[in-house]
Amino acid sequence: MTKKLLEVKNLRTYFHTFKGTVKAVDDVSFWVDEGEILAIVGESGGGKSVTGFSVIRLIEEPGRIESGEILFEGKDLMGLSESQMNRVRGKDISMIFQDPMTSLNPVYTIGQQIEETLILHTDLSPKERKAASIELLRSVGISNPESRLKAYPHQFSGGMRQRVIIAIALAADPKLIIADEPTTALDVTIQAQILRLMAELVRGKGRSLILVTHDLAVVSEMADRINVMYCGKVVESGPTRDVIDRSAHPYTKGLIGSIPDLERDKNRLETIKGIVPNMFDLPKGCKFAPRCTRAKEICHVQEPEVINMSQSHQVACHFPFREEVL
């Protein structure tokens, strides 16, 4: 039986602005097992990234984590002080950001930025740190790592920078890595390379990964389990094959329908009609109801309960798609 590495219970992260409160993450619960890759999928603005940032408690004004438990190896991170939290960030849980062009500090060398993590979280001597940095750069596929240590970020391409960022995230050998849309800003040709690299490194060391993305196609190849988020809520969760092949939520079905498929000859892509609702003014009842083809009266009034489709496959919907009994 695998052990739960991270368990998030009833997390609520709200943003309080002039126009009102945005419930970016609203009563979200999920877990990640050791050695597992969990994907959090959804459209932009669905609260995926905020969920990721909430786990390491990097939510800035006007945002706030209102309530919830973030159990990491059984210990609640919400109860830690800021300085205790700094020993978790980067050491136990590290993060990879969306845009490699802006995530590295332009005035520090690559070497300095890798070393910063090593200084904070390891007892290595300067010499060992240098060796470790070189090794890290080599492991993410950067050629000539010795000479690259003295280079500045602007001397690297986007893909190379994302590799450096992955090296930094792995520097202190964290147990969990949260990757926030790690390939969105990259060229399509490089996206697959970076994802494969990440999966290899994580699997090779038996570490866990939370992959936040809007790209269901990417996820279906990599992830063990999938959480689908819509408007701050997890609408469907389960093992990858269950969610992809036996999607129960109309939103998940919609997402899958909108993936272009070269093999099958689709004449036109299906789309989900309508747009993501205004987060300041969410519909009552099921948040997806206004865009849902299956919505009935009750959907507009009452929020759906979470139902078990199988032991490991959950969905929050009044009228989920069920396997037709043949």
Binding site: L104, P106, V107, E116
Partner: protein, 321 residues
């Protein structure tokens, strides 16, 4: 590097050419100097002689040519009033001005940068709101008024500091400066504070906004995700990026400080080139004004050049090639 310097030199020549043209047109239309040089009841012939002596009877382009030729030799003509070479007069006054400008610059840097950084880092704290109120007040005060209040309070009311003039001059490392004597410092302190105050406010504001901008950047958040404590991120990652443009601000501020010495030096009767300019304007002394403007123009180009060079050393993204 060599190409960069050559490019800069060409630029300098161009700027000086444009400025010299402007200066010439300027001074040509400004007050008639002939009447300053002749007796009140001068005859037509006497006036004519002076006109010829000054070369004012020649057509304007010729006058400009002569002006340019002389200027290239550092000769701007003699001051009508002092009967001394104009450029020499300015060079003689320059050290005094440089003294208060340098002291003011050091004062505003050592105050403005830390205050700007702190108030940018913690914008909601009482301290930084106080700093902001002070800086808005600072840019709202006329600089001559600050000088008057200083004179009134420290010199007339408390009687602890001298009212005006430059103090005793001593020698440090072979340079004659009033910074070498206690009396000199007593004289320099009020003018340079006066000069610095508005400047401090500007530096605070620019440092602060730079700091706030950098704090919003992704790399600050990424550093936090690495486990770098907030304080270290602020005063390491964000500060280093903030300080780069501050160098430019310094270049610009140096220029505006030199301009404002005209006021400060007038109030404190400080014998620098700013006061010289005001006196020159009051008596329409063309050579001095012309020499002053060109001198300042050269200085500004030079300051910009230094700033550019400094950039290469502090900003890794800039490459002269």
């Amino acid at each position: 590097m060599f190409r960069f310097i050559v490019k800069r030199l060409i630029q300098l020549v161009l700027v000086l050419f444009v400025v010299s043209l402007i200066v010439f047109v300027f001074t040509s239309v400004m007050g008639n100097p002939v009447y300053l040089m002749v007796r009140e009841n001068a005859t037509e012939a006497e006036i004519q002689a002076v006109v010829q002596y000054l070369g004012l009877d020649k057509p304007l382009p010729v006058q400009y040519g002569i002006f340019l030729k002389n200027a290239l030799h550092g000769n701007f003509g003699k001051s009508y009033m002092y009967h001394l070479p104009a450029l020499g007069l300015i060079m003689e006054r320059f050290p005094a001005t440089l003294e208060i400008v340098v002291v003011a610059l050091l004062l505003s840097a050592s105050l403005g940068i830390p205050l700007g950084v702190l108030s940018g880092a913690y914008p909601k704290s009482k301290f930084s709101q106080g700093v902001m109120a002070f800086s808005i007040a600072g840019i709202s005060m006329p600089s001559f008024w600050i000088g008057m209040v200083m004179i009134f309070f420290f010199s007339l009311y408390l009687g602890v500091l001298p009212v005006s003039g430059r103090g005793d001059v001593g020698t440090i490392l072979g340079i004659n400066t009033s910074l070498a004597t206690v009396n000199g410092w007593q004289h320099i302190i009020l003018p340079s504070i006066t000069l610095a105050l508005g400047n401090v406010a500007t530096i605070i504001r620019l440092t602060r906004s730079g700091m706030q901008e950098n704090m919003r950047q992704d790399y600050v958040r990424f550093a936090r995700a690495k486990g770098v404590p907030r304080r270290k991120v602020l005063f390491g990652h964000a500060l280093k990026n903030t300080l780069i443009p501050v160098v430019t601000i310094f270049g610009l501020q140096m220029g505006s400080l030199i301009a404002f010495t005209t006021i400060t030096e007038t109030i404190f009767a400080w014998p620098g080139m700013g006061k010289l300019l005001i006196d020159a304007i009051n008596i329409a002394a063309r050579p001095i004004i012309a020499a002053y403007i060109l001198f300042v123009a050269v200085m500004f180009v030079f300051i910009n050049f230094i700033v550019d060079i400094l950039y290469v050393f502090i900003d890794p993204r800039i490459d002269l090639q």
